[in-house]
Each structure stands twice: as structure tokens, then as C-alpha cells.
Amino acid sequence: MDLALQLLFTGIGIGAVYALVALGFVLIFRATNVVNFAQGEFSMVAAFLMVVFAVDLQWPYWLSFLLALAGMALLGAIFNLGVYYPLRHRTFLPVIIATIGASILLANSVLAIYGPQPQVLEGWFETPGIQLGPVYLDSQYLLIIAVTMILVVFNYWFFEHTMLGKKLQATSQDKEMASLLGISVSTMIMITFMYSAVLGGLAGILVAPILFVSIQMGSTIALKAFAATIIGGFGDVAGAIIGGLALGIIETFGAAYISVPYKDGFAFLVLVLFLVFRPQGIFGERVAEKA
């Protein structure tokens, strides 16, 4: 029982990380109908920005955090202008290929600037964690879970109860109609890219004290987050969260009770089962219709 509780906590913690990155996938998919394969690299870039500000320049943690997120918003805007916007009238395929290209460019740019050595980023809290009975609660995982919960509420409020959120939703549902109603579609897409980059960046900064800051950190998380998005239902915010958490828990329990080396296998087995039996995911619309 103690073992199961410990595994459950870790599973939710790692699942929350997948969920955060998956949110970025979902938002861009809803706005543009394409999957942004550079989403994981957004996490990696933000983590490296934190290392530059908080470790190399020794600026206060909160200031570094805000600057890194601002940097991500800027990167999202540049990404939109450089990768998505020139190809917006093409089919989804060239855009997806362009995002893959951009992810390789981002990873190698950071490699060229910072070198291959992983870097250390301290967490928000001085205490690494607390022992609660038989379960050890890592403070960074607690923070990640809290931030994910706050973001679920924030996203709901933002998309359902603010004008900007509703404009973004309208754009994602029908660009022509939104345009006829006087909504600037390109601005909405620009905002979506900026917000997604910030979300991806947030995930990267939060997970960096646990996984360290490395070039590969983005791609490993993004692959799982992508699976979480499909399981949850592409295009659904709640689905991304549930999918991420489910994936984290399944792979942690699978590793503990069945086989550690096949940990990733459990995640992708669940993905395959969903693709075969419920391709629209838990909550989502049919992937085939969108693609």
C-alpha cells in the first residue's frame, strides 16, 4: 500500500508535466489544425533561458522566471511569423514538416551555444520535499501538480469567460466565420502561438530541477505529451490534462509492477489501443475529421 501511494504521487507528478506540454499541443492544434512538433523544444529553450538568467547571471529567481516566460512569448511570436505564417495557406503537411525542422534548428542552436553538458537548475523551494507518513512528496512535483490544477481553472475561465478567449475559440472553430465577424484571425493565431510557447516554457522551467536542463529534455517529454494528447482527445483542454495524468500513472505503475525497461512501452501501448479502439480519445473529436 505504501508502495502504491508513493507510485501514485510520482505518477501524478510526472503526468502533470506531460499534461502541461500537452496543453500547448492542444491549443495550437485547435487554432491552426496542425501539430506543433517543436512544442517540446519550447520547454527546453525556456529551461536554458532560466539557466542563463538565474544561474549564469545570478538574477533573482522570480525575475529570471518572468524574463524566461517573456522570452518564450517572443519566441512563440517569431515561431508563428517564421514557421506557420508563410505556410498558412498550404495543407497541414508542409506546416508539420516545418515545425519538425524548427525543432531541430532550436535544439541544435542551443547545442551550439551551450554545449552538450546537462545543466543544474535549482527548484523554487529550499526544502527538497516532505515525508508524509510512508510517502515522500517531492516539493517540485507538488508545485507542478499545483500549477497544472491552477492552469486547468485558468484555461476554463479564459476560454469560456473572457472576450479574448472566446475570440480564440471562434478562430479555432471556423476561421472564415471568425474573420467575417471582425476577428483578426492572424492576431488570434499569433496569441495562440505565444501562449503555447509560454505554457511549454512553463513546463520546461518547472520540470528542469527534476530532470536537469539538457538538449534532449524537450523531445522526451514532448513524445509522451503527444501521446497524452491523443489519449485525452486532440483538441480538448480537459482531455490533455486527463491524458497526461493517466499516462504518468499508467507508466509508473506498469514499471513498478510489470517491467521497468518497458516503462515507455506501456505509455505507447495505451496510445496504440486508443488509436485502434477510440481514435478520438477520451473527450475529443475525431482526429480523422481534423486532419
Binding site: 508502495l3 520535499g129 539538457s214 534532449q216 513498478a256 518497458y262
Partner: protein, 381 residues
């Protein structure tokens, strides 16, 4: 000007023979050339630079001491791009230069495997740093290894844990890639031979974001000592932190990554008190100390095994050619194999018939972030 038939024939003859004449003149040139395949680009470019530093340092010492066969030695460097196709191309470029008498290959076993067929075809000595035991056991007489192979690391870890630390209940944690699997097997078999079979043999996939299941398995096994083969330092760092967080504080003896500079930096206090095997440890011998000082004087930074083995490779190759008194590949091979108790930065070289020069490891320990030399364990067989 009118071109006569005789002019044409003479021109043709010169054109055909020129490369051979020039090549032969180069072969009898003023320097002795050593080829080096090394990452100049790609993920290991930084380590490649350290390797070049080591080789160049040895070359300078050789030349200062009179060179090879009375001539100055020269290093011809070719980029292997840190890839298998890259090293095959780099080696074929170097192999085409007939005046190169010996080569330095890679520290990565997979790259050595890739170039090995061409090495066999060329029939000239190639110094390597890859530690897959199979490399010197596949009937290729031209590969000479300058680091102890992985079969020794398992034996040293087991020997140190059982005989020095007096621990009998082992948990083995290893990555499931080629390196980790081979290392884990070597450690398990060494423990069996010592009569203390492991109570847990746990593999994990590289780039795991979480090691809680592995740590809990170690905890539940009741092991009193941990032996590990981690491939990537960030995996090791995550594991070490979670191990301590979940209250596992048993002694830990691991493969070289446990005491690598980047692991020490990433894991911080979680690795204090751990032991690791290391092929290069500065305080292990007078030769290692001398190399460490020379390297620091030249490059203002501490060396590691990435630069130590190329240093030894160039030194041994030069000594062997001088001993053989010839650049004939067979004579060089015989001279290398006849070197006994040859002091190097990595240890004392005693080449066996397979081409393995070293037969043991240093054990070092992490004392509050500082890696200190503990003891050297060598095997006769």
C-alpha cells in the same frame, strides 16, 4: 604550338606516373605520420578536442625526445563526425595516405566496430579506446586497446564491494543499452564467481524521467550494496537524487559515470560517499601524475580519460616503432605486444595477444564532490 605524337606520349607518361612518384617521395618524407580519427563535429566534438589535446601533448614529448626512427612525428587529423559512417569515411581518407604508419581510432565501441573491417583490410596498427570486450576478441590483430575493457570493470566493482567493503547482498541497476547490459552481465557473473549472487538485477531504459519504481525495487530487495552501470549522466543524477529522497543510503560502487565530472555536478550531495571505477585517476601512479601536470600546464584544465588514452596511444605507438626499428606493420605489432610494464597515464601497459593493454581499474570515491583515488585493482587473467 603544334602537339606532336611524341609530346603527347611523354605528357601521358608523366601524367600516369606522377601520383606514384609523388606518393613514393612522400612515403620517404621527412616526418613519420600518425593518423587520428576524432570527432571534430557532432555531439562529442568537445571530447574530441580533449582527445586531440592528449595526442598532441604526447606527440610533442615524443618529438622532444628525438622523434620516431630519428624523424619528427606528425599527426594527421580527420573528423569522424561522432558517427559510424563518419569514422568509416575518415579512416578511408587516412588509409589512402600510404605514408601513415599507425592510427588512433575511437573511444566509442560502436565506431570501432564500424571501422574494424577496413582496419583488417588495411593491415596497419590502430589504437582504440572503446571498451566493448568483443573488439579485441574478433580475430582482428590490428586493434590495440588503451583502456581496460568492460569485463574488468564488473570484476573490479565486485571485488571492491565484496573484499574491501565486505558487502554480500548486491542490487545491480543497469541501462538496457549495449553498454549497460554488457556491464550488468559482467558484474552479475563476477559476483557469482565470488559466491555472492545479486539479489536484484534491474534494467532501465535510457532517458527515463523518473526512477521511483527502480529505487523502490532496490529498497524492497533488502540489498546492502548497490552496483550500477549508467550510460547517461542525467539519468544517473535523477536516480541518485530519488534514491536519497526515498531513504536508500547503502554503499554504491558504479561504472565510470558515477564519478564523471558532470554527474558530480548534476547530482551534488546525492553522490557523496559513492565509489566508482575510473580508468584514469591522476593520483594512481607517477606516470598519471606527470601526465596530469603536463596537461594542466599546457591547457590550463584537468585532464580525464578522453585525453589520457590518446596520450598513451601515441606514446606507446612511438615507443613500439622505435623498438621495432621499422614501420613495417607486423614488426610494429610484435613490438607493441612485447611491451611489458610500460608506464602510461591510464596505468601500466602489459599487452596480451588480443591487444588489450590494461587489465584492471582504479577505484575512486566521491568525497563531498571531490573525486579522490582509493586503490588500483589489477587482474592477471
Amino acid at each position: 604550338m603544334k602537339l606532336t605524337r611524341r609530346d603527347f606520349a611523354a605528357g601521358l607518361a608523366v601524367g600516369i606516373t606522377a601520383p606514384y612518384v609523388i606518393g613514393s617521395a612522400r612515403a620517404q618524407g621527412a616526418t613519420i605520420k600518425i593518423g587520428m580519427c576524432v570527432p571534430v563535429t557532432g555531439p562529442a566534438a568537445e571530447q574530441g578536442l580533449w582527445a586531440q589535446n592528449g595526442a598532441k601533448l604526447a606527440l610533442a614529448a615524443v618529438n622532444k625526445a628525438g622523434g620516431i626512427l630519428g624523424k619528427q612525428a606528425e599527426l594527421v587529423i580527420e573528423d569522424d563526425q561522432t558517427t559510424n559512417p563518419g569514422i568509416v569515411l575518415a579512416f578511408s581518407k587516412l588509409a589512402a595516405q600510404r605514408d601513415i604508419v599507425g592510427f588512433l581510432g575511437s573511444i566509442r565501441s560502436t565506431q570501432v566496430h564500424a571501422m574494424a573491417p577496413d582496419v583488417l583490410k588495411l593491415g596497419k596498427p590502430v589504437m582504440i579506446g572503446g571498451t566493448d570486450p568483443a573488439l579485441t576478441h574478433m580475430g582482428n590483430p590490428w586493434l590495440f586497446r588503451f583502456r581496460p575493457n568492460d569485463s574488468y570493470s564488473g570484476r573490479v566493482i565486485a571485488d571492491y564491494g565484496v573484499n574491501t567493503l565486505g558487502k554480500k547482498k548486491w542490487a545491480i541497476v543497469h541501462s538496457t543499452d549495449a553498454f549497460g547490459t554488457a556491464g550488468g552481465k559482467a558484474l552479475a557473473s563476477a559476483l557469482e564467481k565470488l559466491g555472492t549472487p545479486a539479489v536484484l538485477d534491474q534494467g532501465y531504459a535510457n532517458q527515463s524521467q523518473d526512477f521511483t519504481p527502480v529505487v523502490l525495487a532496490v529498497k524492497q530487495s533488502g540489498a546492502d550494496i548497490l552496483g550500477t552501470y549508467f550510460t547517461f549522466e542525467n539519468d544517473l543524477g535523477i536516480f541518485a537524487r530519488q534514491l536519497r529522497q526515498l531513504g536508500v543510503n547503502i554503499p554504491w560502487v558504479g561504472s565510470p559515470s558515477v564519478v564523471a565530472v558532470s554527474s558530480t555536478k548534476l547530482a551534488g550531495p546525492a553522490l557523496y560517499g559513492t565509489y566508482g571505477v575510473a580508468d584514469y585517476a591522476e593520483d594512481s601512479s607517477e606516470a598519471s601524475k606527470a601526465f596530469g601536470k603536463a596537461y594542466r600546464d599546457a591547457y590550463k584544465t584537468a585532464p580525464d580519460n578522453q585525453s589520457a588514452w590518446p596520450y598513451d596511444a601515441v606514446t606507446v605507438l612511438a615507443a613500439a616503432i622505435n623498438k621495432a626499428g621499422s614501420t613495417d606493420p607486423t614488426k610494429i605489432r610484435e613490438a607493441i605486444l612485447s611491451l611489458k610494464k610500460f608506464p602510461g597515464a591510464e596505468g601500466e601497459y602489459n599487452f596480451d595477444q588480443n591487444g588489450d593493454g590494461l587489465h584492471g581499474y582504479n577505484v575512486v570515491r566521491n568525497e563531498k564532490g571531490k573525486i579522490v583515488y582509493d586503490k588500483h585493482i589489477d587482474f592477471d587473467n
